[in-house]
């Protein structure tokens, strides 16, 4: 069979030419802010790295009582195990970072407006799941730092009135972080979360195909003949892949020059080590709660925690629902409020993160 006949045989059954025609006609808008279009793709790249390195770690990782020993083996005994573990840890941070950049660029380009509300909501859900991925994965080595970070982190849900204590016990598998906790965090990390994340990611990507790239209001205001586009295939695809290559290089550099360390095995009786702090992407909420704890000290300390959680939840809900109250089609002139809310959010996140890192020294 010739290759042409073979192509036709497959095409007749799978409709490859329809796909090719779709790829030929798909275009991407070109304007001064096109750079931000790459960040969704970069996030996807780091997610793929996570799947790949995660499966490799799964080859030797043993949850439960042997968790620390197996991570020690991966890091110090298996050839290049340190590199694979380091790449997994660094790519997790880079993935959260690029999702955040993607989210803020969508926010300021007002790409959440009609008809892209589901894109915004599914994206926010993906960010939420990604941070749970980060939180659950952080415990898995069961060293001193991850033990205390999880212990402290689970204090947050336990401050929720009425159901908090029960919820935290359910997550921990007991009243304290133990082998049971690693075992269930492991199940969460490698089975439950991917099972939710993958279909949601498919939905998110399908929406992007369906609605195409959003343009910022300033470009939207231009008459159609003044808007520029480039073909998705191969022009944008090529640039996208170039971005992936740059991301891979950055990851390789970080993972090999700054290998992820492994602390002492956890000891439930040992005091918390100095300078204990969460991952950078949890620093801001951690610090906000701490600051509110200062405001409501003494007798009202419990009140402060609840107030903090309420305030935080309110901020997140406002952020989530932005497509439903900022619907203005005009060139952004009327929607200044959302813009300032976005700037405030960035300022609050950066400021609390900086304060957080400043005060642990």
């Amino acid at each position: 069979m010739t290759s042409k006949a073979m192509y036709e045989w497959v095409d007749e059954r799978l409709g490859l030419s329809e796909l090719a025609a779709f790829a030929r006609h798909k275009t991407v808008p070109v304007h001064s802010q096109s750079f931000w279009y790459y960040w969704g793709g970069i996030s996807l790249f780091f997610f793929l790295v996570q799947c790949f390195t995660g499966v490799l770690l799964l080859v030797y990782y043993r949850p439960g009582a042997e968790a620390y020993e197996s991570v020690r083996q991966i890091t110090f005994v298996m050839h290049f195990g340190w590199l694979i573990r380091s790449a997994h840890a660094w790519a997790a941070s880079l993935m959260i970072f690029s999702i955040l950049v993607h989210m803020f660029s969508v926010y300021f380009m007002k790409a959440y407006r009609k008809p892209r509300e589901f894109g915004w909501l599914s994206g926010m859900a993906l960010l939420g799941i990604a941070s749970v991925f980060g939180f659950s994965g952080y415990l898995l080595p069961m060293d001193e730092l991850s033990y205390f970070a999880t212990k402290v982190g689970l204090q947050i849900p336990s401050a929720i009135p009425w159901i908090g204590a029960g919820l935290a016990n359910m997550l921990r598998g007991g009243s304290d972080v133990s082998e049971f906790t690693v075992q269930r965090f492991f199940a969460l990390h490698v089975v439950v979360l991917p099972a939710i994340f993958l279909p949601l990611l498919g939905f998110h990507l399908w929406l992007v195909q369906r609605h195409g790239n959003a343009v910022p209001p300033s470009v939207e205001a231009l008459p159609p003949e003044q808007r520029k586009t480039m073909p998705f295939f191969p022009n944008f695809m090529r640039k996208d892949l170039a971005m992936w290559l740059i991301s891979l290089n950055i990851l390789a550099l970080l993972a090999s020059v700054f290998p992820w360390s492994l602390g002492k095995p956890f000891d439930p009786l040992a005091p918390a080590p100095m300078g204990i702090h969460p991952e950078w992407y949890f620093m801001s909420p951690f610090e906000m709660l701490k600051l509110l704890g200062f405001v409501f000290s003494g007798h009202y300390a419990g009140l402060g925690e609840i107030a903090g959680i309420l305030l935080f939840t309110l901020g997140i809900v406002l952020w989530l629902l932005i497509p439903f109250y900022d619907r203005s089609k005009e060139s952004g002139q009327r929607a200044r409020a959302a813009h300032y809310f976005g700037l405030l959010a960035i300022f609050a996140l950066l400021a609390t993160t900086v304060i957080g890192y400043w005060t642990i020294r």
Binding site: V59, H79, G81, I84, L248
Partner: protein, 161 residues
């Protein structure tokens, strides 16, 4: 420009363009191969680690079985020699015999049967002589390899002959 549009698109190529394109493709291919190798090598070594460790373990030529000299007459001790199972038999007549416990037929682990004073493989019924390791009956094509045994106060030394 108006002149060129009358020609088919593939003819308006500059003479040097083909060479630069070829050079570019060659460079991109080489870079791609370099990346693939740089990624594949650590992954291969990582996945092959246990196999490499096993290879190092097979290099073991001698093992001391502590307190094995106390093994009663007519009984057997199973132990790991390198990576594979082995037998140490203390026969009724006081002789010490050690040999590999991997059946030469399909690699099952054989067992010593004191009543029949023979070595038997339960998988396909292979039988070996418990003193010489010779294959007596059943499917095994070759005898079991014997090891050298030296008994001392502290234990039993087994080494490859």
């Amino acid at each position: 420009m108006s002149q060129e549009t009358t020609l088919p698109a593939n003819i308006v190529e500059e003479p040097g363009e083909k060479n630069t394109r070829r050079a570019f493709l060659a460079a991109a291919g080489a870079a791609g191969l370099a990346y693939t190798a740089a990624l594949a090598y650590p992954i291969y070594r990582y996945l092959a680690s246990p196999a490499e460790m096993a290879m190092n373990a097979t290099a073991v030529t001698e093992i001391t079985l502590k307190d094995a000299q106390k093994l009663p007459l007519g009984s057997v001790l199973m132990f790991k020699f390198g990576t594979s199972p082995a037998l140490l038999i203390h026969h009724e007549d006081g002789r010490w015999i050690s040999m590999t416990a991997v059946c030469t037929h399909l690699g099952c682990t054989v067992q010593y049967e004191p009543q029949a004073d023979r070595i038997h493989c339960a998988c396909h019924g292979g039988v070996y002589n418990a003193y010489t390791g010779t294959n007596v009956s059943g499917p095994p094509p070759k005898p079991l390899k014997l090891f050298k045994v030296a008994v001392s106060e502290a234990g039993v030394d087994v080494s490859r002959a």
